[in-house]
C-alpha cells in the first residue's frame, strides 16, 4: 500500500474513532474521516456476540464489509466496542467458511461411515426428509429433535418453533441458551410470574454499588464493565464488589473481592437475608404490600439420569446420588438438622423440583437462622491463605452495603449463578435479598441477570424456543396457552403436544439411549458445549442417528454430523436480536452470503416443503402423555378438523404454516429495505417479505400481553437504536413493575403483575399443610432455599476443582473467533489456570503439559500459574473455547433439577505430567 494513502486512511480512522466516542476534532480531521468513508454504505447493526447487545455501524462496498465501528448513538455502548466487536467484520471471511452442503457418502449414496461430499441443496433436503420420515414413522414426534440457539435470529427461532410444535407436533426443541440462562428464566417465572429483568443497563448510572456474583464482567461483558468503571470515576461513593471463586480481571477494578468456595454463594445469600432481618433492615412496607414468602422441597436430585446403565464405570458413584444422598455436615446445619447424625435422603422430588408453597415470614426467618457469620464464613471461605477474621470482615462489609437503606445497589450475575446444580435457587435467593430491602424496579436498585448470547432473551426466551415453552412466556402444558397458540396459528384443536419435550442435555441422552434418532442443529455447537461430551460424540457417530448441522464453519458438531448445511451469517441476512435489558434490535441484510450458503430461515422453510399435513397431523404416539383431554400416550388425528378449516392432507407444512394469506400480504420489495437485498426471499422465489411477516405474526402473541413489540418498520428508523419492550404507544419501558415507567402497572406504585404461578397452597418449611390455594396477584415471592453441596467435590483421588468459563478474545466454543488463523496461533490452546503451590505440590511448574482427568474422560493441556485468572489453592480454571483441548469431555452433565441447565463450574479432576 502506498505510504500516503495509508497515512490518509489512518487520519480518517483516528477522526472517525474520536467522533464515535465524542472527542471534538478539527474540521480538517473530520473532513479526512468523511473522505475515507465516502464510497462506503453505512448502516446500523448489532454485535453478533454476547448478550450486552452493543450497536455497531457497518460499512460495505462492492458486497463486502470494509469497516465497522462502535455506534455513537447506541445507548448500550455509546460508541465503544470491545475486542469482540472487531470480529463482526472478520468472521464472515474465515478461510474454511462452508459454502455448499456436504453429506457423508459412499459411491454416490448417503452412508453414515462415508466421506463428506459436496451435494446440491435438493440432494441434501431429499436425504434429510427420507431420514426424518424414517425416524418419525418409527418413533413419532418424540423421535426427532432440534437443538437451537440463543444466537438464532428472532424470525429463525420463531419459524423453527412453529415448524416443530405446530407442524411436527414435537416439543423436542431446545436452545443452547438452556445451558446459558435457563436458571435465570426459571427463577424469573417462579419469583415474578413473568420472564426478564425489571431494570436495565441505565441502573449503572444511577447506582452507588455494583456487586458481581459469579460474573467476570471485565472479561465477559467489558462494555458494561466500562460503564461501571465510568460511574465510579464520576461518583465518589460508588463501591464495586467481586464475589468469585478465583481472582480474575474483575477483581482489578473492585473495592472488595470475596473469594468463596463453589456453591457457597447460597450460604452467603442466606447470611445476607439473616443480617437484613437481624439489623431490622427489612423494608417492611414494601414486603407487606408486594411480597409473599415461599419454600420448596430439598430432595430434588441433580438432574442426572436415575440409572447408571449408560454411565462409565468411574461415573457410577456420583450417578448414585441421583437416587439417594447422605447430607454433608454443612447441609444438615443449613436445614436445621443435627449435624452429628447421619441423614440419608431419597431424591423423592427429582421430577417435581419446581413445586413450592407459601410459608410465613417467621418460617423464612427460621430458615435463614442457622446462617450466622461464624457458620457461613467457615463454610464459604475460598482462599485457604486468607485468615478467617479477614474473610469475616469482608462478609460484614458486604452486608453493610446491602443493608444500608440509603445505598442504591445493583447485583449482576451470569454463569456462576446460572450454571449451578441449584441455579434456580440461587437466582431466587438474590431476588429474596433485593425484595426484603425493596431495592428493585427503580433506577439504581436492580437485581440483574446478564446474558451470554446475543438473543438468549429475544429469541430463546421471548419467542419460546425451549422444550416446554410457547411465545410470550406461555407453556405447552397449560391448556389455555395451547388454545391461544392454536387459535393464533390457525391450527385444529389438540394439534399441539401438551407434554414438555427433551431439554438439550436430554436430547443428547435420547440420542445415546435410542429414543431419538434424527436431530437438526442450528446456530450452535452442542457436541462441543454440552458437558460429558464423550458420551454424545459416540452417540452421534456410532448409533444409527442422523445428525444435520447448519453451520458456517467446520465446528466439532459439523464434523460429527451426517449432513452439513452451509449458512449465511449475521449481516448476510435480515434479522433481529433481543438483548439482556429487553432491547429488541433489527438490521438489514448488508452483504450476500458466499457460494451456496443460505440463511437458517430459508433452510427451515425449504425443508417444510417436503413434509405434508397427512404425515404429521394424524394420530401420533407420545410415550408418557397423560394430560386431561387426551387419550393416554397419544395425540389425536386432527386431519378431519383441519379439512373443515380448509386444509388438505396433501398440503405441505410450508403452505399451511408459513405461506399463509396473512403473511403473503407483506410484499417484497419493501421501502424499508432502502436498496438492501434479501437473499432468503430471492432463493425462496417469492414476493412476500418473509422476515417482516414472521416478525409481525410473532409479535401478535405479545401485544397486549406484557410483551409488546413495536411494528417491524419502527426498528429500522434512523433515529431508533432498539427499543426495550413492552413498547406501548410508541414508548419503551425502562423499568418494569413500577407505575412511573410501566403502563402495565394498574394497582399502586409497584405491581409484580406477571401471572404465572400466583396461586399456591400454604405450609411450613417441611411441606404444605393445607390443600386450599391462595391467590396473590401482583406480588413477588421471597424464597427460602438452603445451602446444598455440589454433587461432586474433590476427594483423595480427584483432588482439584475444575471450573470452566470464557475469555475475552474468544467467545463460547470459538467456532467464529477461532476462525481467524492468526488469532488462533496467538492463543493456540486453552490453558489450565492453577495455583502455583498446587502445581509445586504435584511436581509441576508453569508451561508443563499435563493430563487432566475426571470420572468422564481425560484431556491434555498446558498449565499456567501466572495468568490473568489466579485460582486459590485447590481450584483450577479452563476456558471452553478450544476444541483441541475440549474441556467438556471432563465436565459432569448434572443440571439444576428445575431449570435443567448444566453446572459447568464444579467438576473434580486430578492432574499429572504427560
Amino acid at each position: 500500500m502506498e505510504l500516503s494513502r495509508r497515512n490518509f486512511l489512518k487520519s480518517g480512522v483516528a477522526a472517525a474513532t474520536a467522533m464515535a466516542v465524542g472527542i471534538p476534532i478539527s474540521r480538517v480531521a473530520s473532513a479526512a474521516a468523511a473522505e475515507t468513508e465516502q464510497d462506503w454504505r453505512w448502516d446500523k447493526g448489532v454485535c453478533r456476540f454476547c448478550g450486552v447487545g452493543c450497536g455497531i455501524m457497518i460499512a460495505t462496498q462492492d458486497g463486502k464489509i470494509v469497516a465497522t465501528k462502535g455506534d455513537p448513538d447506541a445507548p448500550v455502548n455509546r460508541g465503544l466496542n470491545c475486542v469482540k466487536g472487531y470480529f463482526n467484520g472478520k468472521i464472515l471471511y474465515g478461510k474454511d467458511r462452508l459454502t455448499q452442503p456436504l453429506m457423508r457418502m459412499t459411491d454416490g449414496r448417503f452412508d453414515k461411515k462415508g466421506k463428506f461430499t459436496p451435494v446440491t441443496w435438493d440432494q441434501a433436503f431429499d436425504e434429510m426428509a427420507i431420514q426424518f420420515k424414517k425416524a418419525y414413522e418409527e418413533k413419532g414426534p418424540t423421535g426427532i429433535g432440534v437443538i437451537g440457539s440463543g444466537q438464532w435470529l428472532i424470525q429463525e427461532g420463531y419459524a423453527m418453533t412453529k415448524l416443530m410444535k405446530a407442524g411436527f407436533r414435537s416439543n423436542n426443541i431446545d436452545p443452547n441458551a438452556r445451558n446459558c440462562m435457563a436458571s435465570a428464566v426459571a427463577a424469573f417465572m417462579q419469583v415474578f410470574g413473568i420472564d426478564e429483568p425489571p431494570g436495565n443497563y441505565d441502573d449503572i448510572e444511577y447506582t452507588d454499588t455494583v456487586v458481581a456474583w459469579g460474573a467476570n464482567m471485565a472479561e465477559a461483558h467489558p462494555v458494561l464493565w466500562q460503564r461501571v468503571i465510568d460511574r465510579r470515576l464520576g461518583h465518589s461513593d460508588m463501591k464495586i464488589v467481586n464475589i468469585t471463586t478465583l481472582r480474575n480481571m474483575t477483581s482489578e477494578g473492585s473495592d472488595l473481592e470475596i473469594i468463596i468456595k463453589p456453591n457457597t454463594d447460597m450460604a452467603l445469600l442466606n447470611y445476607l437475608a439473616r443480617e437484613i432481618i437481624q439489623r431490622d433492615a427489612v423494608n417492611q412496607a414494601f414486603v407487606d404490600a408486594h411480597c409473599v414468602f415461599c419454600a420448596g422441597p430439598t430432595d430434588i436430585g441433580y438432574g442426572m439420569r436415575a440409572t447408571d446403565k449408560f454411565a462409565f464405570e468411574a461415573e457410577k458413584d456420583i450417578q448414585a446420588r441421583e437416587v439417594e444422598v447422605t447430607l454433608t455436615r454443612d447441609e444438615a446445619i443449613g436445614i436445621g438438622l443435627d449435624p452429628e447424625q447421619v441423614h440419608t435422603i431419597k431424591q423423592a422430588n427429582a421430577a417435581t423440583a419446581d413445586r413450592h408453597w407459601l410459608v410465613g415470614f417467621e418460617d423464612f426467618k427460621a430458615g435463614v437462622a442457622p446462617y450466622t457469620l461464624d457458620f457461613v464464613a467457615e463454610l464459604a471461605k475460598g482462599d485457604s491463605e486468607e485468615s478467617l477474621d479477614a474473610f469475616k470482615a469482608k462478609l460484614v462489609r458486604l452486608a453493610d452495603l446491602y443493608a444500608d437503606p440509603k445505598r442504591k445497589l445493583v447485583s449482576f450475575w451470569t454463569m456462576g449463578f446460572n450454571q449451578h446444580v441449584r441455579g434456580t435457587w440461587v437466582n431466587e435467593q438474590i431476588y429474596s435479598v433485593h425484595l426484603l430491602l425493596g431495592k428493585i424496579a427503580e433506577p439504581g436498585n436492580s437485581p440483574f441477570s446478564l446474558t451470554g448470547q446475543p438473543s438468549a432473551c429475544g429469541t430463546a426466551r421471548e419467542v419460546g424456543t425451549f422444550s416446554h415453552r410457547l411465545p410470550a412466556d406461555m407453556v405447552v402444558n397449560i391448556a389455555k396457552h395451547r388454545d391461544i397458540t392454536e387459535q393464533t396459528w390457525k391450527l385444529p384443536p389438540k394439534t399441539l403436544n401438551p407434554k414438555p419435550g427433551s431439554h438439550i442435555t436430554k436430547i443428547m441422552r435420547d440420542l445415546e439411549d435410542g429414543s431419538m434418532s434424527w436431530v437438526w442443529v442450528q446456530v450452535n455447537n452442542p457436541f462441543q458445549h454440552v458437558a460429558n461430551a464423550n458420551h454424545w460424540l459416540k452417540a452421534a457417530r456410532e448409533n444409527d442417528n442422523f445428525i444435520v448441522v447448519s453451520d458456517a464453519y467446520p465446528s466439532i458438531s459439523a464434523k460429527v454430523a451426517d449432513l452439513i448445511l452451509p449458512v449465511a451469517m449475521i449481516f448476510e441476512k435480515w434479522g433481529g436480536y433481543g438483548n439482556a435489558e429487553r432491547r429488541t434490535q433489527l438490521w438489514r441484510e448488508q452483504v450476500p452470503p458466499p457460494g451456496e450458503a443460505r440463511s437458517d430461515l430459508w433452510q427451515i422453510l425449504e425443508f417444510s416443503k417436503r413434509i405434508t399435513l397427512a404425515e404429521v397431523w394424524k394420530e401420533q404416539p407420545i410415550p408418557g402423555l397423560k394430560d386431561e383431554g387426551f387419550e393416554e400416550g397419544k395425540l389425536p388425528d386432527v386431519m378431519a378438523a383441519a379439512q373443515e378449516m380448509g386444509y388438505t392432507p396433501e398440503m405441505t407444512l410450508y403452505e399451511a404454516l408459513f405461506e399463509t394469506p396473512e403473511n403473503k400480504a407483506f410484499a417484497w420489495p419493501d421501502p424499508v429495505a432502502k436498496g438492501h437485498d434479501n437473499h432468503t426471499v430471492k432463493h425462496l422465489g417469492v414476493d412476500w417479505f418473509v422476515e417482516k411477516a414472521l416478525f409481525e405474526e410473532y409479535a401478535a402473541f405479545g401485544r397486549g400481553h406484557h410483551h409488546d413489540l413495536a411494528p417491524f418498520d419502527v426498528y429500522y428508523q434512523d433515529d431508533v437504536r432498539g427499543l426495550r419492550w413492552p413498547v406501548i404507544d410508541g414508548k419503551e419501558t425502562p423499568w418494569r413493575f413500577n407505575a412511573k415507567y410501566d403502563p402495565y402497572v394498574k394497582n399502586g406504585e409497584i405491581e409484580f403483575y406477571g401471572g404465572a404461578m400466583k396461586e399456591l397452597v400454604t405450609g411450613n418449611l417441611n411441606g404444605p399443610t393445607t390443600e386450599e390455594k391462595t391467590k396473590f396477584p401482583g406480588k413477588a415471592k421471597i424464597f427460602f432455599r438452603p445451602y446444598a453441596a455440589p454433587v461432586e467435590s474433590p476427594d483423595g483421588n480427584y483432588d482439584l476443582w475444575l471450573c470452566t468459563g470464557r475469555l475475552l478474545e474468544h467467545w463460547h466454543t470459538g467456532t467464529m473467533t477461532r476462525r481467524v488463523p492468526e488469532l488462533h496461533r496467538a492463543m493456540p490452546a486453552a490453558v489450565l489456570d492453577m495455583n502455583e503451590k498446587d502445581a509445586e505440590a504435584r511436581g509441576l511448574k508453569r508451561q508443563d503439559t499435563v493430563w487432566i482427568e475426571s470420572r468422564r474422560g481425560k484431556i491434555k493441556a498446558v498449565i499456567e500459574t501466572t495468568g490473568r485468572n489466579r485460582p486459590p489453592r485447590g481450584y483450577s480454571f479452563m476456558a471452553f473455547f478450544d476444541e483441541s483441548v475440549f474441556v467438556n469431555k471432563l465436565c459432569i452433565d448434572a443440571t439444576c433439577p428445575i431449570s435443567k441447565e448444566e453446572d459447568f463450574k464444579k467438576t473434580a479432576i486430578k492432574i499429572y505430567k504427560v
Binding site: 500500500m1 495509508r6 486512511l9 489512518k10 487520519s11 480512522v13 483516528a14 477522526a15 472517525a16 474513532t17 474520536a18 464515535a20 466516542v21 472527542i23 471534538p24 480531521a29 475515507t36 463486502k64 464489509i65 470494509v66 469497516a67 465497522t68 465501528k69 462502535g70 460508541g79 465503544l80 466496542n81 470491545c82 475486542v83 466487536g85 472487531y86 467484520g89 472478520k90 471471511y93 478461510k95 474454511d96 467458511r97 462452508l98 459454502t99 455448499q100 456436504l102 466421506k115 463428506f116 459436496p118 467489558p222 462494555v223 466500562q226 468503571i229 470515576l233 467446520p554 459439523a558 464434523k559 452439513i564 458466499p594 457460494g595 478474545e809 481467524v820 492468526e822 488469532l823 496461533r825
Partner: protein, 92 residues
C-alpha cells in the same frame, strides 16, 4: 492489513506520559488527546489479527491505562477465500 482506532483512557495528569509511551509501541500512533478528560485516540496498524490483539493487550498493560478498547476497524484489501472445500472436511 488492519487499521484500528482505539480509545485509551488515563488519569488526566498522565496524558503526556501515556502519549509518549503509546507512540513508542510498534504500529501505534497517537492522533488525538484530550488532556481534560484523559482520553486519547490512537491508531493501530497491524498486518494480522494476532498482532492487532496483542497490541491491544500491550496498550492495556501500560502504566495508568484504565481503559483501552477498539472502536473503529477498517479491513483493508480483504481477500475472501471461501471457494475451496476445506481440506479437513474433504479428507474426513
Amino acid at each position: 492489513m488492519n487499521l484500528s482506532g482505539i480509545l485509551v483512557v488515563v488519569p488526566p495528569a498522565q496524558v503526556e506520559d501515556a502519549t509518549l509511551a503509546l507512540n513508542a509501541l510498534p504500529g501505534v500512533e497517537v492522533h488525538h488527546a484530550e488532556p481534560a478528560t484523559g482520553r486519547i485516540v490512537v491508531v493501530q496498524e497491524a498486518e494480522t489479527v494476532d498482532e492487532e490483539v496483542a497490541a491491544l493487550s500491550r496498550i492495556k498493560a501500560l502504566p495508568g491505562v484504565m481503559l483501552a478498547e477498539m472502536v473503529y476497524h477498517v479491513f483493508d484489501e480483504i481477500l475472501p477465500e471461501w471457494d475451496a472445500i476445506p481440506a479437513e472436511m474433504a479428507a474426513s
